[in-house]
């Protein structure tokens, strides 16, 4: 594996906190992988994102131990200003992700490219493309301050992917979105993966994780409890004790298993359930 992001024995405490929010975290994230982070509230997911993006330690001070490497480079030694082009970070809270100096969504999305010194003609073309991609072309002339939560979330996503970073860190992109909007955002994430981006995604919707993600990291109380291919993590017996949801299909199958049915494998996507049941029946000797 060719790890793009490497954490080695990282522990971190916020300046105003008395407890370590991350405890001895070590993990490798491979190039081009879509890795999802799950964990209950205040498990440290956002903190982990801040760490990968370099906001810890460049912006949030506090006690940091261990090392965070991105592309082999120690993030603490990197220049914060140069990281934006490499790592895009879409925040959890869509209400703060507005530059505050742009009067239209079009200009808002263009802001990052202006800051990167991209020639104006390229900016226009790239913003047009992204507005189409994220399906916010209808908002192009609206004032960013006057958008709904879901609209802001999409504008925030568009504002980051327009800069075309190699790594995307996306913290709960669908919290303000309805099911259709969520599907659309995941379509975009899949497209980004197809374009070869490495994606770190914090998300709660397990069915979508089962469908799209390569790997799953389970955080609890600042520790990495499980990390591996999605299917293996869900099948891990210790997963259940962590009190985190399963995908629908897996929950259903585990219920059946508890009732005495033997499963040939743990289905994690809805379409795998039929296959799983058919095989289970055959195994029991029934046609």
């Amino acid at each position: 594996m060719d790890p793009v992001i490497q954490l080695k024995n990282v522990s971190y405490r916020y300046p105003v906190g008395d407890e370590q929010v991350l405890k001895n975290v070590s993990l490798d994230i491979g190039r081009g992988k879509l890795v999802t982070i799950v964990g209950n509230n205040s498990a440290g997911k956002t903190t982990l994102c801040n760490l990968i993006r370099g906001f810890i330690p460049h912006f949030y001070k506090g006690d940091l131990e261990g090392s965070v490497l991105v592309d082999g480079e120690e993030i603490a030694d990197a220049q914060l200003g140069q990281l934006a082009e490499k790592i895009g970070y879409v925040f959890q809270n869509p209400f703060i992700q507005i530059s505050g100096v742009k009067e239209t969504v079009f200009d808002e999305v263009a802001f990052g490219l202006e800051n990167l010194g991209v020639p104006v003609d390229d900016i226009r073309r790239r913003v047009e493309d992204v507005l189409q991609l994220v399906k916010i072309d209808n908002l192009r002339n609206k004032n960013p301050f006057e958008l709904s939560g879901g609209q802001r979330q999409r504008v925030a996503l568009a504002s980051i992917i327009v800069m075309d970073p190699d790594i995307l860190v996306i913290d709960e992109p669908s919290s303000q979105l309805d099911p259709v909007g969520t599907e659309q955002v995941f379509d975009i994430i899949r497209l980004m993966k197809e374009r070869g981006k490495t994606i770190v995604l914090v998300e709660h919707k397990m069915d979508l994780i089962a469908e799209y993600a390569d790997e799953l990291i389970v955080l609890a109380d600042g520790e990495v409890k499980l990390h591996g291919p999605v299917r293996e993590v869900f099948a891990d017996p210790s997963y259940m004790a962590l009190g985190i949801q399963y995908p629908h299909a897996a929950a259903l199958a585990l219920d059946l298993q508890e009732k005495g049915m033997e499963l040939p494998f743990l289905p994690i996507r809805d379409e795998e359930v039929a296959e799983c049941l058919a095989r289970a029946r055959r195994k029991e000797g029934r046609p």
Binding site: I96, G100, L116
Partner: protein, 250 residues
């Protein structure tokens, strides 16, 4: 986009004009001249299509100030040429003249800048300052502050509504309204402080501190007419000042 010929001028052209008016009314010690300047400003405002807003704004902001200043001069300015008396005050010709001169100047200068901001978009003005060397961070602070004001007003209304549903009286006399308004300030200020940190991170995530020269979708056009007018206003202002100083010395 401004299609009006006056509004389409470069912000610096308009700004130089406001400075020219300032220099002119200070250089020429005549209230008739300064009032004529104000009349000229009205004509320009009309030509730019902002007469109504301009006049209303001047009325709202300057008139009370002018009346106070005028009365102060009239009542307290020392002089010998007594033209009347009122209660314990004596009114002098000098006081009247100085009151007229001072108010005419305030009116002309104040209106010149009010007109400037009526016919110039803030983002154009800030852009012009940026082109002249204002660092991007400074430009950001100016622009975001001006954009945040309507947003704060909106938030304040939301909080006021919330207070109202809790039974807090928000309408009525000034005192009642002040009582209702003060508590809204705390959440407003707190959220403003909290959001500066978030704002900084937001900017960072949008490459604001990237070590390159920024580009801009929004550019200002500086046409020959701008260069010409700026030269004209500058020469005009300098000539008036030189004339004034010459008269004074000789």
């Amino acid at each position: 986009m401004a299609t009006n010929a006056i509004r389409a001028l470069h912000p610096m052209t308009k700004f130089t004009f406001a400075l020219f008016v300032t220099a002119a009314v200070i250089a020429v010690p005549s209230y008739l001249f300064a009032y004529a300047m104000f009349a000229a400003l009205l004509v320009i405002a009309a030509a730019a299509g902002v007469l109504r807003e301009f006049f209303a704004f001047v009325l709202k902001t300057l008139v009370v100030l002018l009346i106070i200043v005028f009365l102060m001069q009239l009542l307290f300015y020392p002089g010998d040429d007594i033209i009347g008396g009122w209660w314990v005050f004596t009114l002098t010709q000098e006081g009247l003249a100085y009151g007229l001169l001072l108010t005419s100047r305030i009116l002309a200068i104040g209106s010149a800048f009010i007109l400037f901001f009526r016919i110039t978009e803030v983002k154009d003005f800030v852009k012009a300052l940026e082109n002249m060397g204002l660092p991007p961070a400074g430009a950001y602070v100016v622009l975001s502050t001006l954009q945040i004001i309507p947003e704060m007003r909106r938030q304040s209304n939301v909080i006021m509504d919330a207070q109202k549903t809790r039974g807090v009286e928000t309408e009525g006399s000034v005192l009642v309204r002040a009582k209702a308004f003060l508590p809204t300030l705390t959440p407003l200020i707190l959220s403003a402080i909290a959001s500066t940190e978030e704002r900084a991170i937001t900017l960072e995530s949008r490459a604001f501190s990237a070590p390159v020269n920024k580009t801009s979708l929004h550019t200002l056009e500086r046409r020959p007419i701008d260069t010409g007018l700026i030269a004209l206003f500058t020469i005009g202002a300098v000539a008036l000042i030189v004339w004034r100083v010459a008269v004074w010395i000789l």
